[in-house]
Structure formats: C-alpha cells, structure tokens
Symmetry: C2
C-alpha cells in the first residue's frame, strides 16, 4: 500500500472531533445533548435567501465565473462600504466559504517554511491550512487573565525572523470573543509596515460587536493597503453556513492575480450559494437587529450563568458568539469526554469544545473550554444548570 503524505499525517485531529462519537453514543442511550461546541447558529436563515433559492429560474446550472458572479461582488463591495471598508468589486474574489479564502491566501502568500504569527487561542483550522501550505504558525499566547487582549507588541516583534511573512488576526475573535482596540490594531499596523508583512485579517464576525466602539477592520489602518488580505464569509451573519460562500479581499494585485489561478483550477464557487448570498445582502435591517439583540441577551445569559457557578471564570466577550471560560477541572478534554460518556442530569448533558484545540502549544488551555452561544436562552440556562451539577460530581474537580 503506497504511503500517505507527511502533510496529511501531520494534520491534527481536533479534540472536538474526538468527542463526536461519544456524543453519538450518548444520543443512542436516549440522552439529550446541548451543543455548545459548534459555531452553527440556530437562527433562521433570512427568508430573502431561502426565497432566492426557491425561486431559481435557471434551466442549466452552469459554472459561474472563477472569481464569482459579478453582481455578487459588486453588492459585497457596497456592503463593505457601509463599514467604511473602501474596496471595489475588483478587490473581491468569491471563495467556497471563508475556509477557501484562508487556504488560497496561505497557498499564494506563504512558501514552505515561511512563518506567520498568530495570537492564541485561535481558530484551529488556520493550523490545518498552514500545514497544507507547508507554512509554520508561530503562536503568541493571549491569556484569560488579560481577557484575551492582544499581547504586548514587543512580544510579536520578538517572534519575527527572516522567515516571517505575516500576522494573522481574527477580529472579533473566534474562540475568545475578544474585540481588538484601536490601539492594538495600530500597533499591529506599525509592525506590518516596519517588516513589510502580510496582515491576514479574518473578519467574518463583523456584525457581532457588542460595544459602542465599532470594530476596526484591517482596511481602516493607514498605509498598509497592499499588505492586507481579508477573509470574509456570509455563513455567520446570515446563518447560512451550508452555502459555502466566502470572500478573499485584497488590494494587492500580485496576490489577486495568483489567487485567480487557483480559482481557475477549481473552476468556480458554488452557483446556488452565490445566488442566495447575493440575495442575503438585502436582508432587512429588522432581521439583523433582531439577531443582534438576541445575541446580546444570550451573551448576558451565558456569561452571568457561567460566572455564577463556583470555580468558573469567563471574561465578557465583546464580539462574535463564543467565550473561552476557565473551569475548575484537571483536564478539559477529559471533562468534556466525561460529560458525554459518564454524566447526565435528568437525561440531559452538554457538549463543549476543549480549548486545547485552539492552542498549538501543548499543555495550554488545559482547564479552558470554548462555549458558543448559538442556542436560545432557555437552552443556555438549562446547559448552565447541567454544567453546575456536573462540576459538583466530576472526579477531576480541582477547586473544592
């Protein structure tokens, strides 16, 4: 049997994935599992998107342009203008989900051995796409004690080597929910400028900012226009993760040109998804506001609930729909497994994402979990009650 590739073997399996069979077994035993582990919102997709699909009037479902349907790119540019992101449709390439934008950016900006600096905890799949490109992630740890704020810029600078090609940030942040401040963003900009780095900026949670201060897009930073590669997706903001429509946005012509060659190789992004995504951009303000208010309430419900449980601490996330909380347990991986395999409270349990999967440095996040508030308030309250009861009897509890 021929050998698999080293890169395939090196690709890590997420700790969440290991929990899936346990969750399936729990369900098979008749136990209800509340999924706090995934970034799949429970909210309805806007009707305007569903209608666009139901009213499709094409007879041949043919390839679309490799960089996406032009009218979608134009509408997306107008959407960005609402956020003072000054880009045109020529700066936008439609990708198969935000994931493909990350993949194409890494493949076209990073050579094997090149390094990118990424604040941790971070979205686990960045590592996967870095491995695919043969690139190396140099993590810089943000800490729950500091509310996951950006580490001092000197810490970034210490990591810079001749192989450093970029910095990657996710703002608002998955998994921490942290929202970068103007000062933090300016510090990043100065470093990007000084060393002429790429700034990869994942901004898919743009609509989820729970503060008076608006989010700072990478494109709001001055003097680094050609260094920025922005990742976007319609998945989260319109609750349409299944469509697989994202975008890579950059003013760097050389990157655009090379990314286009990758786009052409995979022919085109999904047609029906693009049609629905284009319609979604006209989602009424009322839908967006209702969603926003819902997350505001869920956030309060979850964070208050968490901090109310003895031994748990969660900072208040200012964006996205996640928080990373510290639990009074020996090992969050074990605890999350135990919740599914050895525990239930009145026939119910919860599934959470162990934070270890969001760190590349082994041993970090050992007593932390990521919780997504993608369930309604009633379910969140029940989940917190289950978590409290579980911690009362979990054998590996650390704080008595």
């Amino acid at each position: 049997m021929p050998q698999t590739s080293q890169r395939g073997d090196a690709m890590p399996e997420s700790p969440i994935r290991k929990l899936v069979p346990l969750a399936d077994k729990a369900k098979a035993r008749g136990i209800k599992v509340y999924h706090l582990n995934i970034g799949q919102p429970d909210l309805k997709t806007p009707q305007i998107a569903i209608d666009a699909i139901r009213n499709i009037d094409r007879t041949v479902l043919e390839y679309s342009p490799s960089d996406g349907i032009k009218s979608l790119r134009t509408k997306l540019a107008n959407y960005y203008h609402r956020f003072n992101i000054d880009v045109s449709e020529e700066n936008i390439i439609i990708t198969t989900g935000g994931s493909e934008a990350v993949n194409f950016a890494f493949m076209n900006c990073l050579d094997p051995g090149d390094e990118i600096i990424v604040p941790e905890p971070a979205y686990a799949n960045y590592t996967a796409f870095a491995i695919a490109a043969g690139a190396v992630i140099k993590p810089i740890v943000s800490s729950i004690e500091d509310g996951f704020s950006l580490p001092a810029i000197e810490k970034f600078e210490e990591l810079i080597s001749p192989r450093t090609k970029g910095i990657l940030i996710c703002n608002p942040n998955n998994p921490t929910g942290y929202l970068y401040t103007r000062e933090e963003m300016n510090n990043i900009r100065d470093l990007v400028k000084k060393y002429d780095l790429y700034l990869f900026s994942d901004e898919v949670y743009r609509e989820f900012c729970y503060t008076e201060v608006p989010y700072i897009s990478a494109f709001h930073l001055e003097g680094i226009d050609e260094n920025i590669v922005l990742f976007d997706s319609v998945s989260k903001r319109y609750s349409e993760c299944g469509l697989r429509i994202g975008a890579l946005v950059t003013k760097n012509k050389a990157v655009l040109q090379n990314v286009m060659k990758f786009c052409q190789a995979r022919l085109s992004p999904p047609l029906i998804g693009q049609i629905a995504a284009e319609a979604s951009i006209d989602t009424p303000e009322s839908y967006m506001l209702e969603m926003y208010n819902e997350y505001i309430e869920r956030r309060k419900c979850l964070i208050d609930g968490l901090n109310h449980i003895p031994g748990i601490y969660s900072p208040i996330p200012m964006g996205a729909f996640y928080t990373v909380a510290r639990l009074p347990v020996d090992d969050a991986d074990k605890f999350c497994s135990w919740l599914l395999s050895d525990f239930d409270y009145h026939g119910e349990t919860i599934m959470m994402a162990p934070a270890s999967g969001f760190y590349t440095i082994p041993g970090l996040g050992k007593n932390e979990v990521r919780i997504a508030y993608v369930l309604n308030k009633k379910e969140l309250k029940t989940s917190m009650a289950i978590l409290q009861k579980a911690l009362e009897v979990y054998p590996g509890r650390t704080i008595k």
Copy 2:
C-alpha cells in the same frame, strides 16, 4: 509589498484564459462567438434536480457533515453498483466538485518532490493541483497518430523513479475523448501492483462512452483495491457544473482518514448542491438516453465536419464530449487568438482551446486544438463552416 509564494508564481495560466479578453472584445464589436472551448454542456439540468432546489424546505441552511450528507453517499454507492463498482458509502467522501477530490488526493498522497506519471495531453488543472501539492507531473506523450491510445507500458516503466508515487488517468479522456481498452487498463494495473503506486482515476465522463464495449473503471481491476483513488463529479453527467459536487472514492483507509482531516478543515461541501445532486441520481433513464443520443449525433456531426475540411484530422473519440484535432496552422495559440481578434464570417466566429495548454512539455500540441461538442448540431455545423472559411484566409496556414 511582501512577496507572493513561488508556488503561486509557478502556477501556469491556461492558454484558454488568455483568449477570454479577446472573446469579450469580439462580442463587444457585435460578433457572435460559438464556444467550442469549454466543458460546460448546454443541455438542461434534469428537472428533478431543479425541483429539489425549488422545493427546499429548510429554515436554517446549516453545515452538512464534512464527508457529505449520508443519504447522498449511500445513493452514490448504489449508483456505482450499476457500473459494477463495488464500493460502499464508507469509501465515498463528497467533495466540492471533482476538483477538490483531485486537490485532496494530491495533498494527502504526494509529498513535495513526489512524482506522478500522466499521459498527455491531459486536463490542465491536474498540473495546477500538482503544483499546489509541490508534486511533479512526469508526462508521457500520447499521439494523435495513434488516436491518443495509451503509450506502450514500457514507456511508463522508463519514467518510474524512487520518487514515483502514482499514475493518473482520465477515462474516458478529457481532452482527447479516448477510451482505454481492457488491455491498456490491465497493463496499468500490473505496473501499479509491481511498484505499489497510487492509481488516480478520473472517471467523471463515465456516462459518455460511445461504444459497445463498456468503460473499464479502475475498480474493475483486480488486486489493486487499496491503490485506487477515484475522482467523480455530477457536473457533466447531469449538466450541473455550477453545483460543485464531486466525490473522492477509495478503499484505502489511511487515505480516507487523512482526507477527512482536510474535509473537516474546510468544514463541509455545499449543502444545496448536495441536495440537488442526490435528487439527480434518480434522473429518469429517458433523460440519460436522450442526452446520450444527442452526444452520439453531435460527435458524428463534428468529427465528419472536421475531417471534411482540407488539412484537418481528428481521430474518432470514443468517450467524453471532446476531441483533439490537428489543424493546418503554424501555431494553434495564434490561430485561436486570430479567430477572435481578426476574423469573422458573416459576423460570427468560434472559440477553441489551443491544445498546448494540455501538454506540460513545451512545443507539443502546437497545431492541435481541443473542441468540445457541447453545442447543438446546427451550431456545430455553423462552427465548422466558420472554421473552414477561417483556414482559407488564415495567414499562418501551413498546408496549402
């Protein structure tokens, strides 16, 4: 400005892509362009697929499983059984188009520097995905004189080095329309077995075989079950290229396991496409037969038309919906450009794919073009008339 990656720079631009602006300009001058250059069938997508989309009853368009919706995988396994391909749903991973299947296979089977042997002319995007994986394509030239039959197996064996990891075939073939014989396939099998290679088998044109002898799937070959990685797609057979639904099929558990990690990194294949693809598998036999008969007639119309023009030669393709023809011209790249920029016949012209883009060896295919018979017979006849008139006045004509 930071540097782009070497792999991005190395990615070739297809000669077809260079023609697109010329075609756009021709259209802007009011000239009608017949597209013989692309593999986008003009045939209607089966109604059953359109209906599945129009009747979608979901309220949340959520992620599907990373390896695809289980019912689709099960139905696809049953579909393969019709062709005596003995696989189960556990051997099938749904991909975003056949393109992603190629990409994932190369990323997981080939390390940088590894080699695969590919008969040329070949689908240009194999090269793109090989570059993405850092792998090297070792071409073995099939010739129009031999009707693009497989070169002698000794020629393959000569190319085998310690870095050889696999052989890639496309059967029925794009771009040549060649259909491999049992003997050729057995020779491939012996070599795969002898050197323990991967056999990457692109079988997306399975339904397009115009001979009494059925096509031989790689899975019909004995004793190499774990060496085979099959690529499939619903794009061509149901005229639904825009859905972006394909499959990677293998019985090799190590490959499946690693490919799944890549699948998880990109989260899921497109949801709506999967729903439509699943419905498509129930396309009535009458649709498939009508399509088949239509292509049989188009093939006759095109090949007779081509060979009727003085100086042109095309073998009779036994599968797919392409042929590679030899033209009496100095340089097919120039001729195809000239057709768009300097020629029209009663306000009409044709666009063809220069065959140079299907060879990795520079200089080959210089007087060959790929023609797709994805237009109706009337349009094909008109196209042949245009081609004949063009050759009469083209300054670079070689055979007077």
